[in-house]
Amino acid sequence: MSDPILRFDGVTVRRGDFLLDHISFSVENQEMFAIIGRTGAGKTLLLEAAAGFYRPEAGSVLYRGSPVLDVPLYRRNIGYLYQEYCLFPHMTAEENIGYPLRMRHEDKQAVKENVRDIAFRFGVDGVLSQYPGTLSGGEQQRVALARALLMHPPLLLLDEPFSALDPVTKKRMYRMIQKVRKTYACAVLFVTHDFEEARLLADHIGVMIGGRLKGVVTPTHLFDHNWDEETHAFLGSTCANGGNDDDA
């Protein structure tokens, strides 16, 4: 039995007003894992801790079996998509996507070919010469995804990837993420405040309230699990319209 691709062991991180309180869970290889919680519950902090941006006060984050902080940032090969995409504004879409290869000193021709290839797959080959500032939200996200996936990372971290999209684009992106997981054989950990989304896409769902992970379940058992009162209230468990919180 191989190590899970990502494991949180009693991780506590404090950053300004945000807190992760003794978080423990694991993500298996090629698994799709969703963390749901309110906006501002520290979900971004969890992803940042998973990527090893911050040293936990307590506990440890293990990536591929060893502490993520043991490997320098630029060698970890983890894909990360911030909510605001964080595309480099001074580079074109092509330069953004090709960035990982350029950092590894690949020759220009190889970079160009790889970039065109992946851009085509994500449907952004038509905007390669444009700067991020002139792209639509959906285009920016796909460029950011292509950039994150260029080096075939075993783990992809997505921060509220679908919340800013219109319903039609959202559906398209759901299909794209599922395809990505298959094509790139990577595990995906994403955070969201949309329960339906989590149930639709994930193999496992973790519920986070007040910096604590209340539990991890499969989508079918999201509402009928033996949660405490707080979590039931959050999930609106027996709510007719499927549990879409109005404070989301």
């Binding site: 990527a51 940032l73 060698r75 090969n77 990360y80 480099f88 001074h90 950092m103």
Partner: protein, 267 residues
């Protein structure tokens, strides 16, 4: 929509701007009008030409060294955390409030000490030497350069560099491919600002290198000499030359910061 009343707040701001323009512009006018009179006489003296050369040359060198020190310092101050960082930041800002003449005195003491004499023997004389002009400018400007560079870096979210790191960029590559290009315009402005300050620096320079014609005489020093003998026209024509050099440098900065393709939807 004819005859729309102009907004009060905007009007007040424009009035205040008018005061600012007059405050600065009136002095520019004085220098230009009075200085133009004996400009030709000034420039035809080899002493003035030497002073121009020394001023511009020393400003270039001191600004270059200044930023070679300030940029890495600002990088560490804004991107790393280590014990005593606030203390170091505090120390770096301390000399900003000191009058330049005091810095000059302090430098004089340092370079006239046994340490300074040893340096002199190895060929690196500073006191009463043109090199001292560069050092005086450097020491006076360094805290400001660090502050400007830090401000330029602080404004940029560190997320971009984290992302770059995850994409395979070492800290050095993060710096050169993300941080520097994005702070380019702020840094260029800071360089021009510091260069102008170096050009006009006088108090510290005078203490450390004195005023020796054709050797350590910068344009500000030449103004001092002129004022000392009541040659006000001569002083103002040197000031005029300084203004012209400044104006050219601003044009250069403007040209440098203007380049770049269409970056946003509304350009």
């Amino acid at each position: 929509m004819k005859g729309r009343r102009p907004d009060t707040f905007v009007t007040i701001c424009m009035l205040l701007m008018g005061i600012a323009v007059v405050s600065i512009g009136s002095n520019v006018l004085v220098v230009v009008l009075q200085g133009a009179k004996s400009l030709f006489r000034s420039v035809s003296q080899s002493e003035t030409r030497f002073a121009i050369g020394l001023s511009v040359g020393s400003a270039c060198v001191s600004t270059l060294v200044c930023f070679l020190l300030a940029v890495p310092t600002a990088y560490v101050l804004t991107r790393s955390s280590f014990p005593g960082r606030s203390a170091i930041e505090g120390v770096l800002e301390l000399t900003m409030t000191l009058p330049n003449i005091v810095l000059g005195l302090s430098l004089l003491i340092i370079f006239a000490s046994p340490f300074g004499k040893v340096l002199k023997k190895t060929g690196f004389a500073v006191v009463f030497n043109p090199r001292g002009v560069v050092i005086a400018q450097l020491v006076v400007n360094l805290p400001f350069a660090i502050k400007h560079a830090s401000a330029a870096f602080r404004v940029l979210s560190v997320k971009l560099e984290h992302v770059a790191g995850l994409l395979g960029a070492s800290p050095f590559r993060q710096f050169t491919s993300v941080l520097l290009p994005l702070s380019k315009n702020s840094l260029i402005s800071a360089v021009i600002l510091i260069w102008s300050r170096a050009l006009g620096e006088f108090g510290a320079t005078m203490m450390l290198v004195g005023v020796t014609r054709m050797k350590t005489e910068t344009l500000p020093a030449s103004i001092y000499l002129n004022v000392s003998v009541n040659d006000l026209d001569g002083a103002l024509s040197s000031a005029f030359i300084l203004l012209m050099i400044s104006a050219i440098s601003f044009l250069v900065a403007d040209w440098l910061t203007r380049r770049g393709g269409k970056r946003s939807r509304y350009e």
